[in-house]
Amino acid sequence: MMLARPWLPDALLRPPAVLLLPFADWLNAFSDYLQNDLQLTIFTRAIADVVQFILDVVNNFLLGGRKGLGLPAVPWLTVAALAGLLGYFLGGTRLALLSGGTFTYLALFGQWKLAMQTLALVFVSAPAAVLIGLLLGIAAQRKRWLEVSIAPLLNIAQSLPHFSYLLPVVIFFGVGHHAGAIATIIFATPPMIRMTLLGLKRIQPEIIEAGRTSGCSPRQRLWLVEVPSARQEIMVGINQVIMQCLAMVVIASFIGAPGLGYKLLLLLQSLRIGDAIEIGVSIVLIAIMLDRLTLAWAYRVPEYHGDERFLVRHKYLLGAIALAAVSIAIAALEPYFYFIPRREGLSTGFLWDPIVDWITLNLFDPLQVFRHFVALYILIPVRDLYQWAPFSAVMLLYTGLGWCIGGRTCALLIFSFLGFIALSGWWDRAMITAYMITVAVSVCIVLGLTLGIWASRSPSRAKRALLLCDTFQTFPSFIYLIPVIMLFQVNDLSAIAAVTIYAMIPAVRYTIEGLRNVPVPLQEAVTSAGANRLQRLVQLELPLALPHIMVGINQTVMFSLFMVVIAAFIGTQDLGQEMMRALSFNDLGKGLVLGFCVAFLGLTIDQLVSHWERRRKRELGLAE
């Protein structure tokens, strides 16, 4: 078909205009119907008020002020001390240093207020998302029809770009702190549902039977047997929720959430990269701290204190009270320990700016050749190819691939995903997006695999690399857009470079995990057969780890789709750019349709990869 292009009728080159369906108009009409006829806004605004009130209370607790309960703020010293104690309680000295240190950093660098606004958002959104996710997960486990209908929704929800959530939220919930919280909740709930469902399904049937034969009523069985037995997965779910919440910190500020994210965008706007990096570090620290705390909580060995004396049994509680009292007293004497205004905070901003300057001054010219080469010989040809390919051929190709790899349902799904994109009228834009992620993902695979293999060769290196992955994953990607532009200017290469930086994380992470989890007996068997390290890698480890690595590559595709939308801030001509435009003009329907286009691109790849991976795992006997 590709070869026959010159002879194909136009209708097979681009979706003919008569076939295009006005999805966006339908969605807008539907949204109008919800707003005007159903008066759903009364209901949603009431929810918004409730959320705002809760936020006010939390905010009041962290920052003081007249709203909420009208209490004075807790001194930063107290928060840091208590966080340190909590860290110690959950995970010993290291965690104590991490959590106490994070809060101290936030205070000393004069970011207390911003950080507390952000934390208030997390503290409200995360529990709400956990609760909603838990309940929906439980319901889905009970009711087969719910599970069946929720699964595809979750798939779509988890591949919709963050920005798609914003407009509906603005329209139904307004703007402000609460809107940010609600968008965050909507975004963070799907993984919780998934993990709850997974956890409940994984419980040994015997445990449930043990509950029943112990005489549990259905409610006792749920809360005393099933939920606690699924707690590992539920905890992982909670952890993911927290990470999602922090991923939304910057994006939530587009619809009115104050805090670190908002400040970050402002700083970037006036090119204060050093200060922006400082904020980025804060976000990373908060993310890693919350991540480690919840994980420590999840894997914590419960201790038994029933027989100990009151003092010993409640030593942490008493310690907390004592710490709080002492730190409040100190803060009362010395205001520095109560609150440090931003102007009095430390700053490393001046350190970063020369580094950025140095990079632009010294690397720009050497990179010039590279930039020209890549643009002329790789990007432009690939882009032209994607634009040139008849849409019918592309659809046929992918549907066929789906058929070969995953059978009929898979083919059908892929056909409808691509069909939607074609009928929505965004085919050309989607192909630009597709071209950018193709290039980015290819680079990610090559670099990510290489890095992953290198890092997996020693346990300590692997650990450090994984920490780096965590850091980059939570570091707000907006920040590195700026240096990337300074080096590559506003063009596709910049966008692709930014996407690559972010999307490489899962490729590296899953490669390391896959390679490090090859069963030891197999490694020994191959080593004793006389294989050297390279042979072992090629003959045993890579083939065995491949399914897991493919999961990583699948994630890489998802990450790159998220990032490609954010890269629209550099300046692109793809779906992301249109999405920004829809956001600016409050065009809910268009925004959602574009979001679906992005999601369906991702889901097409997801279908192919996950079917292949499942098949391969079964063949290797690695399936659960």
């Binding site: 015997e206 043990a210 112990s214 009523s217 606690p228 060995v301 419960p302």
Partner: protein, 339 residues
């Protein structure tokens, strides 16, 4: 055993069919679907028309290969799964007629169950696990703690009440499982391969322990195993299951000596007969020649030496109360063992 009410559990024509439409296929064949009909329509009869009865204080061991339907059978008997058809009576009460509430009551007071993989709650301590069924009944913490400690003592785990399951060995975990199932002092005790996950030495130890407990508690027991050795050590009666059907049910000796089907014969062919057969099966009339008498339910294995070493001795056999029965029929016995 006198007719209808003596059994603690009775089941009649019990069916459990798995597959796309169990009820349909069952009705379509008027309550007696043939194996072929089931297979053709993609169904499996995990329990295939089973009737049996367990009397008070009796231990019925259910045996069979993996997939023969043992677990399904106990789960039908305890109504952990809903049977396709048939009837189960427990102390004369129709089990399938109970509503959810009554069923929970029944579980709370009458039944205890031990599981192959222990099924302990990972987030609770030994003490809390054992006290769990009591907690479900809403018994106050003090009382349930006392009762649970008693059970823990009974299974010999005193001193470990505050351990978490993962801190215990497999044998210890199963002791917890046993203590938990006994905490409510059930009349009926179901054990689904309780020792299969343990290594042979521990298994042996646990069997001894179990016999000791049963000696004291005298529960009515349905015990599942796929280990014939274990069955022989424990059983009052053995039921052998094959593809969901009871091939034979009887005392260990009956099963070994008179296998009802080829399958049972093959199944028991490897069993050392000397361990199963008792002296009582080989008695002929006659007077002993003054050597020390043996009791009638002595396993042959323990006197084999005497029989082989003194070919001409006429060994007298007596009943438990000392009454003389006759002498050992040496030839019949050797034929049974080696013929």
């Amino acid at each position: 055993m006198d007719g209808k009410t003596s059994g603690v559990i009775r089941c009649e024509s019990l069916w459990k069919i798995y597959g796309p439409d169990p009820g349909g296929i069952f009705r379509k064949h008027d309550g007696a679907p043939s194996d072929e009909a089931l297979k053709e329509s993609g169904h499996i009869a995990a329990v295939n028309n089973i009737s049996l009865e367990i009397s008070r204080g009796e231990m019925l061991v259910v045996m069979g290969l993996s997939g023969s339907g043992k677990s399904t059978l106990v789960r039908c008997l305890s109504r952990l799964v809903e049977s396709t058809a048939g009837r189960v009576e427990m102390d004369g009460q129709d089990l399938f007629a109970l509503d959810e509430k009554e069923l929970i009551e029944l579980w709370r007071h009458k039944m205890g169950m031990v599981f192959q993989h222990f099924a302990l709650l990972p987030h609770k301590t030994v003490l809390e696990n054992v006290a769990f069924p009591l907690q479900m009944q809403g018994i106050t913490p003090d009382v349930r703690r006392a009762k649970a400690l008693e059970m823990i003592e009974l299974v010999g785990l005193s001193g470990r009440e505050n351990y978490f399951p993962r801190e215990l060995s497999g044998g210890q975990q199963q002791r917890v499982g046993i203590a938990r199932s006994l905490a409510v002092d059930p009349g009926i005790w179901f054990l689904d391969e309780p020792f299969s996950a343990l290594d042979p030495l521990i298994r042996r130890e646990m069997q001894d322990e179990f016999l000791r407990l049963q000696e004291m508690l005298k529960k009515s027991i349905v015990f599942i195993t796929h280990d014939f050795d274990e069955a022989l050590r424990l059983a009052d009666r053995i039921a052998i299951l094959y593809h969901g059907k009871v091939e034979q049910i009887g005392t260990p000796e009956e099963i070994v000596m008179n296998p009802a089907t080829d399958y049972v014969a093959r199944f028991t062919s490897e069993v050392p007969r000397a361990r199963v057969l008792t002296v009582g099966s080989f008695v002929v009339a006659g007077e002993g020649d003054g050597v020390e008498p043996v009791a009638k339910d002595t396993p042959i294995a323990s006197i084999l030496r005497r029989i082989v070493l003194s070919p001409d001795a006429r060994i007298p056999v007596v009943e438990d109360n000392g009454r003389h029965l006759g002498v050992i029929d040496r030839n019949a016995l050797l034929d049974a063992l080696f013929g």
